[in-house]
Symmetry: T
Subunit: 142 residues, 12 copies
C-alpha cells in the first residue's frame, strides 16, 4: 500500500523557521518516523514551491499503482490556484486537504479553498499530526 | 480519560434520513462502537437542536474533570452563530470542529465558521470517520 | 387528512400586538375557524420562539401518518437559520413557506430565505389568508 | 367581477417546451378551465415578451371597471426591471406577484424582485396552481 | 431650431397619477406651453414604454436636420439599460439626462445611470422645470 | 418602580471566566449591589443562552405592570438575530441595548445590531458600569 | 441547410456610425457576402432593438426546419437580460454568442452574460469575422 | 431677492488651471457677469477649501433674510462628507446641487452624493452654465 | 476635576433647529445646567464644524492637567474620518463616544465609527442625557 | 506562415481524462491533424503546467519571425494570473484567448479573465474546434 | 532649489507621542537636520490638521518659483479625501506620497489612496527616512 | 556588504519592450551602473518569471551571510500570491517592496499587495530610481 504526501510552497522550511508555529521537526524526520511507525506503507514524499510542478506531480501520482490516496498541503496556493483545484478534479485518486495551522482562525483570504472543492475532506490545525490523521484516514479507506 | 462529542442541529437524524449523504449508522451505534474500541476512554455524548442548549452544554463540559477535549459538530449553527463561537472562546477545554460532509465543497454560506475562529483545528468530509480521527487526535493530545 | 401549521418567533403575539400589521385575530381563533371550515382536515398547530424546537417539531412531523404537508412561517429565522433550512431539506413531507407580511417589500435582510431553498413554494403578504391559501394548496396536493 | 392575468417573457411557451418544469398544459387551456370553474368571473388574459407592452397593459388595466386585481407573472423581467416595478407602483389595482417555479430555490439573481416592492403579495412554486391560488385570493379581496 | 424631448416608461401617466409626486399637468399641456413660450423652437415629442422603441427613436433623431439636442428622461431604464446607454453613445446629437424627481434622494438602485455615462449633463429634481432648464441649456448650446 | 435586566448567551460566565475582559464580579453580586444601592427599584433579572427564551421573556416583560424599561445585553445574538430584533420591535416597553465590551472596537461582525434598530439607545464598553448607566437612564425616563 | 443571425440593439448602426470600432461595412452587405460565399446555406437575418422581439424571434426560429443553429449578438441586452437568457434556455436549437468587440477588454458590466449561461459557446472580438467563424462552426456542427 | 453660490474645494482654481475641463473664466468674472445680467438679484458668493467652513457658511446663510436658495457645488466633499450632507438637511433654505463636470460620466467614487440626499435637485455637466441654470431655477422658485 | 465635552459638525444648531430630533435646549444651557448640578467639576466645552480643529483640540486637551476624560460627539465625522480616529488613538486621555440620536437605528453609513475603534465606550440615543451619562461615567472613572 | 498554440495547466490531460468534457482526442493527434489539414502553416505547439514557463514562452514567441499570432488557452491561470495578463500585454504578436469549455456557463470565478484584457478576442466552448476556429482567424489576419 | 514637505493630520505629534511607532525625533529637528545635510536646498515645511488648509497650501506651493516638488504625507486624509486628491491633480508640481508607517501592512481602510492616483510615486514604511528618500528623489528629478 | 535585487515576471523585458513605460535601459545595464556607483556593495541579481523560483530564491537569500536586505519587485505576483507573501514572512532578512510604475495609480487589482503585508516598506513609481532609493535605504539600515 502506498500513500503520497505532497507539500506546497514554504513547507520546505518546516522545522527550520517559525518554529513557534510549525514546531522544530523537519519533514524529512517526520516521514522517517512514519516509515518506522507504518512499515506496511510505502510513503511517496514530494515538495515544491512551484505551482505547476505540484500539478505535474499530481498528474503523475494518478498513474501510480497501489496508491491509496494523496495528502495535499498546498500552502498558499490553496487559496488562489484555480489551476491546482482543476488538477485535483482531473485525477481519480482520493485527495485529502491538509493544513498544519488552523486556517479558519487566520486571515480571511485563507478561508477560501480552490483545492477543497474537489477533495474528499480536510484536516487542519494539528501541526504534523494533521498528516498523521490523514494517513490513518487513507489506510482506512476502502 | 474522557472525551466529549457534542452534536448540533439535525444530527439526530443521522442513520435515519439522507443515508446517501450520512450513511446508515446512527450515532447511538457509533458511540457504542467507540466505547468498545476504546475501553480506556469515557465518552460523553450530547445532541441538541437548540443553539442555546449547545452553549449551556459547552459551559458545563468545561467543568468536567479529566475531560481531554470536545469534538463539536455544530451543524448549521457553525456558519451563523456568533454566540456559539463566543462560547467556544470562553471555555478552556480544547475543541475540535467536526463535519461529516466536506463543507468546503458545498454552498458558499457553509464556508464561514464562527466556531472555527476559536477551535484548535478542523476535520471535515469523512462521515463518521471524522469523529474517529478527532478522538485519535484528542487521545494523543498532551 | 392532516395538515400542520408551524409558526416561528413572535407569531404568538398575532392579534395581540401590532394589529395594524397583523390584524386583530389570534392564531387560536384562526385555527378554530379552519377546523370549522374544513372539517375533513385535522389541523396540527405548533408555535415556538425557539429555533431548535422548531427543528425538533419538523423532525417529529415527518413521522406523522397521513400528514399531507406543512405550512411553515419561520418568522425572523427564515432569513438567518441555515439549521432550519437543513431541517426542511432533511424531512420528506412537502413544506410551504408562509409569511403574513410581504417580506419582499420590507428590509433587504428579509429578502434572503434559507428555508425557501428546500420548500415547494412560498405564499407571502396576505396576512392570515396566506395560511388559508397554503391549506388549499396542500389539500389539492396529489 | 373581473380578474386579469398578465404573463411576461417566455410564458407563451408553457405547455410547449420544458414540460418537466412547467407541465404540459398550455395557458389557453388553463384559462379555459378557469372560465368553466369560475363562471362568475370574467378573465382578462394577456401575454407579451416585450417589457414595455407589459407596462402599457398594466396602465390600461388600471382603467378597467370592475377589475378586482391583477395576477402578474413578470418572468425574467421580475428580477431586472425597475420600469415594470414603477408601473406596478403607479397603478391602483392590487397586484399579486406570481411565479410557476419556486424562484427562491433557483439562481441568486432570481431572488431580487423589483415588482415585489409594490405588490400586495407573492405566490411562487406551484406551477399553474400558483395562478389558481391567486384567483382565490383576489375573489376573496374586500 | 429643433429640440427633441424623449420620455421613457410610465411618463405617459404624468398628470394622471401620483400627482403629489409629478404634479397635475400632463406632458401634452407642458409641450403646448413650451411651444407658446418658445415660438422660435420646433419641439419634437416622443414617449414610449418600450426600451427598444426609445433606442429606435434616438437613432432616428440623430438624422434630423437642425436638431440642437435631445432631452432624455429614460425613467426606470436609466438605471438598468446598457443598450440605451450604448444608443446614446452611438449618436452624435448632444443628449441631456432629465429626471423629474431627485433620483439621488431615492432608492440606491436609482443612483446608477447607464445613460449618464454618455450624456453632456444631467438635470434632476425640479419636476417639469427640469425639462424647461434643459430647453434653456440646449437653446444656449453653441 | 421596576427595571428588568435581560442577559443573553455566555453572560452567565461573567466573573467566572475571561476575568481580564469582564472583571471578577458575577451578575448575582452586581444585581445584589444594585438592590442595595437603589432600594426604591425592583430589579427583575433574567439570563438565558437560548435565543427563543430571550424572546419569550421579552414578551412576558411587556405585560409587567410598573416596568419602566428593559436593559438588554443580547450578547452574540445582537449581531445575528432578526427574530430578537423583531421581538424588541413588537413590545412597547423601552429597551436599552447594553454591552460590557466596546463592540465597536472589536471584529467587524460585531458592528451590526439587529436589536439596535428598535431600541431607544445603546451603552457599550464600560463593563458592568454599562448596566449602571442604563439603570440611571431608565430611572430618569419620563 | 439554414443558419440564422440575430442581432440586438444598436447593431443596425453597423457601418453607419462608430466606424473606427465596427468597420464601414453594413450588415446587409455582410449577409450578401455570406450568401455569395456559402451558396449552400440559406441565411435568415433578423435585427431588432426591442428585447421582447428578440425573444419572439428566438421562439419562432426554434420551429424552423433545417435550421442548424443561431448566431446571437444580443448587444447590450447580453449583460442585463435574464428574460433573453431564459429564452435561449427554452429553445432547442444550438445558439452561439457573438460579439464584434472584445467585451472582456471593456467595462466590467460587460463581463456578465446571461445569454452565455445557455449557449454552446462564444466568439468575441473579431468584428464581422466573429460571425464568419460562427457560421463555420455551425456548418461543422454534427 | 438674494441667491447664494457656495463653492467647495479646488473651485478657486477655476479659470486658472485645467482650463480644458473648466474653461478660462474665473468665478469672480462669472459672478460679475451674473450681477450685470440679473440686476434684480443680489448674489452672495463664498468659496472655501475647508469642509467645516462650508458648514459654517451654510448655517449662516440659513439666517439671511430674502435668500431664495443656495447653489452648492461641494466639489470632492460631495462624495465623502456625511457632515456636509447633515448641514444641508439641517437648514431650511432650498439647496441645489451643482457640478461643472458631468460627475456621472467620471470615476465610480463620484457617483455617490451625501449632499444630494437633502437637496431639491441637481444640475451637472454644463460648466458655468450649471450655475446659470441653477439661478434660473431659484428665481422661478415660488 | 475637569471633564471636556467636544462637539463636532452641526451640533452648534442644537436647540435651534430640528427640535423634534434634538430638543429645544441649547448646548450653552446644557453646560450651564451641568455646572450647577456638578459644582465639583470644571467643564471644558468646545464645538467646531472643522474636522482639523477638532483634531487640534483633542491634541491640546491631552495636555490639560486634571482632565479625567473627554466626551466626543464627532457628528458626521464619526463615520468618515480616519484622521479623527487616529487623533483619538494618539492621545492618552480616555474618550467616550457620544451621540444624541440612536445612530444604530439610522442609515447604514452611520453604523461605521472610526472614532469608536479607539474610545473606551459609546453612549447613543438619549439626546442630551447621553452627555449626562457620559459625565457620570467619567466622574466614576478610577 | 507560423501559428503558435500555447496550452496551460491540465491541458496535457486532454484525451486522457474527463473525456466526457474534453473528448477522447489528444493534443498531439489534434496538432498532427492540423498539420495535415493546413500544410502551408507551420504549427508551434507548447504546453506547460508552470505559470512562469508560459510567460517565458510567450516572450520567446514574440521574437519568432513569420509568426502570425498565438492561440492561448491559459486554463485555470486565465482567471487568476495578473502576471500572465501582463505578459500578453507586453508582447506584440496578436493573441487569441481559447477555451475548450464554455467558461461563461461554469462557476463564477471562471468569468474573470486577466488574459482577455489584452487579447484581440476570445473563442470558447467548442472543444478542439475552438482552436480550429482560432487558426482560421489567424490565417485570415492581415 | 526648493523642496516642500507637507504634513497632514496628527503628524505634529511626531516625536511627542507613540514613539514606538514614529520615533522620538520631532519634525522640527528633522527639518533642521535636512537643512544642515543639504545646504543647497531650501526646505519649505508646512503641517496642518485641517484638510482644507492642506489644499490651500498645495495651491500656493504650485506658484512657488524654483520648487522642484512636494513631499506629501496626508496622514489619515490619504484614505478618505477626494478633495485632496483633486488638489494634487490640479497642480503641476510633482508630488511624492510619503508615509512613515508601512500603510500596506496595516488596516484595510489604509490600503486606499485618493492622493496616490495623481502622485508620481510613493515611499512608505521607513519612518523619517521615507522623507529623506523622497528628498533624494526630488533632488534627482530632471 | 551585500544587497539582493529580486525581480519577478516580465521584468526581464525591461529596456526591450514598452520603453515608454519602463525606459530603454536594461536591468543588466542598471546593475552594472550600481556596481560602479557603489563599489563597496556586492549586488546579487536574480530574475524569474516562475513564482516558485522566486520563493526558492528568497529562501536561499535568507542564508546568505552579510546580506543587508532584499529589494523585491514581484511584478504581477505582488497582487495575487499568498505563497510569495508567506515566503517574505518566513525569512528574516528585511525586504523592501519595489515597483517601477506607480501601482496605486493603475487598475484596482494592482492596489492589493500580499507581499506588502510582510515587508518593511514600499517604494513605487520612480522607474529604475525606485531600486536606487531602495539601495540607499538598505545601505542606511542599522
Amino acid at each position: 500500500m502506498k500513500i503520497a504526501i505532497v507539500n506546497g510552497p514554504n513547507l520546505n522550511l518546516t522545522g527550520k523557521r517559525e518554529n513557534d508555529i510549525y514546531g522544530s521537526k523537519s519533514f524529512e524526520d517526520f516521514v522517517s518516523d512514519m516509515k518506522k511507525g507504518f512499515p506496511q506503507v510505502e510513503f511517496l514524499y514530494f515538495q515544491s514551491n512551484v505551482e505547476g510542478e505540484l500539478i505535474n506531480h499530481l498528474h503523475e501520482l494518478d498513474n501510480v499503482k497501489g496508491l491509496k490516496g494523496i495528502l495535499l498541503n498546498a500552502g498558499g496556493y490553496t487559496h488562489t490556484s484555480v489551476a491546482l483545484g482543476d488538477a485535483v478534479a482531473a485525477i481519480e485518486k482520493p485527495v485529502v486537504e491538509i493544513h498544519m495551522s488552523n486556517v479558519f482562525a487566520r486571515e480571511d483570504f485563507r478561508h477560501v479553498s480552490y483545492v477543497g472543492k474537489h477533495t474528499i475532506g480536510c484536516i487542519a490545525g494539528f501541526g504534523m499530526e494533521s498528516y498523521l490523521l490523514g494517513i490513518l484516514k487513507l489506510m482506512n479507506q476502502a
